[in-house]
Structure formats: C-alpha cells, structure tokens
Amino acid sequence: MRKIDKIKQYVFPYLLILPSMVGIGLFVVYPIIKVIILSFYSTNMINPAKTKYVGFENYIKMFNKVMFKKAMVNTSIYTLVMIVVVLALSLLLAVWLGQKSSRINYICQMAVFLPHIISIVSVALIFVQMMEPNFGLFNSILVALNLPTSRWLQSSDTALMSVLLVSIWKSVGYYTLIFIAALQSVPRDIYEAAELDNAGKFKTFYKITLPMISPQIFFVVIVLTIGSFKVIETIRLMTNGGPNNATTSLVFYIYREVFNNTDIGKGAAAGVVLMVIVGIMTVLYFSSLSKRVHYR
C-alpha cells in the first residue's frame, strides 16, 4: 500500500507536466532538430525518393546568394535602427510621461501604447494607404507644408526606412510602458539623497536612473534584437520584400525559398542562422538574469 503511494507521489508531477511537454516536444524541440537536419539535405517535395544528403552545400550556396546577403544587411540595419531609436524614444517618453501620474500623462500613455495591440495587418494597410505617393496623406501634408514629397515604400532608397518608421511607431509604446514601470520602481528617497549630494539632473539620470533600470534596458535590447531579426509580417504586408529586394529580411528570405522556390534546404539553412542569433541572445539574457541579484 505504502509502496504504491510512493510511486504515485513520484509519477504524479510528471503526469501533470506531460501534456505541456508533448506540445513543446512536437512544436519546439522536434522542429529545431528537424530544421538542422533539413539544412543538410536537398529535399524534393514532389519525389521524396530523390531527397539526398548534401552536407554544407545549402549553406555555401546560400551565403553566395545576392538575395541572402541583401537580406542579412537589411535585417542588420533594421535591427540596429530599431534598438537605437526605440530605446532612445521609449526612454525619453517614459521619463517625460511617467514622472507624475496625471490625467494627461495617462492619456498619452494610452495613445502611445495603442498601436502595440492592433494587428500589424491593420497597421500596415493604414500606412500603405497613407504612404501612397500619388494621393496618400503623407505627401498631401508635405505638399501643404511646401516640402519635397517622397516615394515612400515604392522607392528602393526610402522603402526600408518607411517600414522602420511603421515598426518604430508600432512598438515604441510597449517599451515606454516597461520603462515607466521600471522608473516607478526606483525608490524616491534615492533621488532625494542624490539631490542632497548636489547631483545635477543630467548626472542623476546617468549615474542613478540608468544604472537602476539597467536590467530593464538589457531586457528591452534583447527583446528588440530577437524581434527585429524575426521580422516578416510588416515586410510581407507593406512591400513584399521590394522594391528590388530593398526590404527583404532574413525571415522573408526563408519564406521565399520555401514557398516560392520550394527550396526547403536553403530555407532551413537560413532558419539555422536565425536560430543561432536567437540562441546567443537567449543565453546572454539568462546569464544576465543570474547577475541581477546584486541590485536587490
């Protein structure tokens, strides 16, 4: 009797976890392994018998492809701009809107955050319409202000920046909220102590505020990096990678290889590249979490 109880006790937690592990196994662990395997094969969708092991051929061919190089450059630029601009803007907005809880500040927070919870489909459609060069709102405003108009999404010079504009506009509110919460968690008396220590506003900000919220800054940088490297929806909806590959991103490249060229091998190889980047960011993030104890 007691032995059965003990076995029950031992097996019970595993039973509780089993369904969740089935999900993770089927849709996370297995796909990760499968992507790596696929990247070493030349897969033939129509005649599976012709599928064969090709070693690093997919990688070599992919790295030599203009479109892949272009995708990597675009994604890197996109990531860098996102990190710098979103970080700066959201910090600025957080300091500005979060220092006092007043009605107007709350309305601002509500407005700034709104784009984050609206589907990228809606947002992209609105901006494509507003950025339309011939009758769009943006050019109408520019003309009214006597400024030169732009081709926005339809020129390879401005397309990436136009997409970035939308991405920044959509995401800055979320990070603003995170920073407001972070700023509010800094004890008030520390700022008072700094005031008594004759620290100016600027010095207080970079000597006290920034170090105090550095865990959140780090979190935001990691999330922004991962989020930027996996960008596809905005691009697929607004430019479809064009014009002339000016907005092709890493994931858009994967999508093209798999669904337009049915070249699963190269798509998988690019997927492995994305996985490595995400992996590095994940390791960085969790190793910093263990250090964070110092600040408590």
Binding site: A193, E195, L196, N198, M212, H294, Y295
Partner: protein
C-alpha cells in the same frame, strides 16, 4: 554651526494642509529631536530643512539666511534616510564619494576624507563592497558615513534606527550621542519613539497634527508637560488621566509615582480602592492595573512584585506636586493659574467621594 528657523511655515499636499503657520527655532549645535505620532508632520519639517519637500509658504532660515530658493545640494545639510537610500548600483566607496565628486572636491582630498570617515564608522574593510553584500547595521553606517563626509553644518536624520534590531538600536543610539558630542554640529532627528527622543535629545520638539505641542529639554518634558498630549505621549506606561469634574477638566499622575498599600493611608493627594486586574512582571519592575467599582483603571509601576491578581488594594499619590491638572482644552493648569485652587478643591471632592 547653524541655527535653523521656521517662520510662518505652511505645507500642503494638493489641498491637504498638514502644517499651518508654524514657527520654530532650532538652536545651533543642539541635538533636537522631533517626535510625535505618525502623520504629525515631523518628517515634513525635516524635509523642509533639507529642501527635498519645500514649504508651500513661509520661510526656512539656516544661520539667518532664507534658504527657500537654495537647492538641497547647496544647503550644507546632510541627511540619513529611514531606509538609508544608499545607491544600490554603487560600491560603499562610490556612495560616500558621490557627493564629494559633485561638489568638485579634488581627488587626493577625497581619498583622505573617505578613509578618515570610513575608519570612524568602521567601514574600512567594506569600501569596495556593493550595498547588497552588507548587513542592515553596515548599511546604516554607510548612510551615516555618506552624511558625515560632507562635513555638513546640519545633520538631518529621519528615523534612522527604525530598521535595526533592538540590540543594535541601543548601541547606535550611544554612538550617535557620542558623534554629536564630537562634531558639535546641529543634529535634527525625527522619531516616533519617545524613549529614543528622551535618551538622545537635548531639546525635544513634540508635535501632533501639524502643531508643536511643546518644545523643551527631556527633563522639563517629563516633569512639566504643557498639555495633556505631552503628558500622555512622554513616559511609559503613559500617565494615568481621570476626570476631575463634569465640565471636562482632568487630572493625571504618572504610574511610577503611585503607591500600593493594603490599607487606607491618610494625608495623600489622591487615593483609590480597587482590585488588581492585570500584572506584568518585567523583571526589574512590575506593572499593575488596579480597577475600582466604577471602572476607573489606574496603572502602577512598582519595583516590588508582591501584589497578586484579584487582590484588594489602595492606590495613592502622596505629593500634590505629582498631580497634574488639565483644562477642558487639554492645556495644563499650573500652580499660579487662577483655576488651580478650584482643581485642588475638586480633587479633594473626588477623594471624599471615593470613601
């Protein structure tokens, strides 16, 4: 080297006025303790001196100079916060150094000052540690060192010992008194603990509901309270207070001035018969509550512990000087006041009624 003056100071948070038209002088070189129940405005006053919670109207003067428009960092004051407010991201050394750096003190002098201060408070070994690696007492010392190193003319302390355990608190109390004796600068200390106030202060400022109830030395505070609030707040257990008449006049006496006897005693200022209802044996002293038939309870503090529960006893106060009278407004009625004679007569009446 600084005298602090408040002139007609008012402080309001939004529409809520917490201090109205307050006037107060804190003498140069004194160890002044602001004491009172929570919400009485004592911390608000302290923050006005520091400049981190400026007054809504009125003036704050340090050494005769109106500092209302002087930023906190330029007032030559230093403050020890209740939760220490140590910068968590800086080392102990950087914490102490921060204010010096901001005041552009040259490097060699900084080093010298830090080392001196650190050895004074016993932090030399911990200079390169982060605050998270320190104990509560050590953090307290960092906060103290950070204040001391600036050589301020006023030391402000906001309940600095409330987060320490009882033993450490007593030890730090002694150290702060010694520090004051050594530095001879003005100390302004805020606490809600009357024991702390009595043991450390040379001047106590007792506050309630934004008003100063009494400003006096600990001795005067204890022996000659100005009003009912001061009489009840200072001393533990608090003063016994009974109704003197039906008009709201009251009289009171301290538990440590009460005698307990088996039998009726003649020639007392006050005497009451009752039963011992509680008895707390504290070691060197014992606290009894004695209740009479009308439900009046008198607290007694005695060195002897021979009285038992449910025992029938007489409690008495011998000397009329140990009895304090208060008017219906709560103000003290002293010997030279007009109503004093009336009070004495009423008290005799009370005594006679008892029998």
């Amino acid at each position: 080297m600084a005298k602090i003056e408040f002139r007609n100071v008012t402080k309001a948070f939004d529409k809520n006025v917490v201090i109205k038209d307050l006037n107060l002088e804190i003498e140069d070189g004194s160890f002044t303790v602001l004491v009172g129940p929570s919400g009485c405005g004592k911390t608000t006053l302290l923050r006005m001196i520091a400049g981190i919670g400026p007054q809504t109207s009125g003036q704050v003067l340090i050494d005769g100079v109106d500092v209302s428009n002087v930023p906190p960092g330029k007032r030559k004051v230093a403050m020890v916060f209740q939760n220490y407010a140590i910068y968590p991201t800086m080392t102990v050394k950087e914490n102490i150094e921060f204010g010096l750096k901001n005041n552009k003190v040259p490097k060699e002098q900084r080093e010298k000052l830090i080392n001196e201060t650190a050895s004074k408070v016993g932090l030399t070994e911990y200079l390169n540690r982060k605050p998270s690696q320190l104990s509560g007492g050590q953090r307290q010392r960092v906060a103290l060192a950070r204040a001391m190193v600036k050589n301020p003319s006023v030391f402000l302390m906001d309940e600095p010992l409330s987060n320490l355990d009882a033993k450490l608190r007593v030890q730090m109390r002694v150290e702060l008194i010694e520090l004051h004796n050594k530095l001879k600068t003005t100390f302004v200390y805020v606490t809600h603990d009357q024991v702390e106030a009595m043991s450390m202060a040379d001047t106590i400022v007792l506050m309630n509901e934004g008003k100063i109830q009494q400003k006096a030395s600990p001795e005067v505070m204890y022996k000659d309270p100005d009003n009912l609030f001061a009489a009840r707040f200072i001393g533990s257990p608090p003063m016994n207070v009974c109704n003197l008449d039906h008009k709201g006049n009251k009289f009171g006496f301290r538990p440590e001035r009460v005698d307990i006897t088996d039998e009726y005693v003649n020639d007392t200022a006050f005497i009451m018969e009752g039963v011992v209802v509680t008895r707390e044996m504290l070691g060197h002293e014992t606290i009894y509550s004695v209740r009479n038939e009308e439900g009046i309870t008198v607290t007694v503090k005695r060195l002897d512990d021979k009285w038992r529960m449910d025992q029938k006893v007489f409690v008495s106060v011998k000397d009329i000087k140990d009895i304090y009278f208060f008017g219906k407004d709560g103000q003290r009625i002293r010997e030279n006041d007009n109503d004093y004679a009336y009070c004495i007569n009423q008290l005799r009446g009370v005594k006679n009624e008892e029998n």
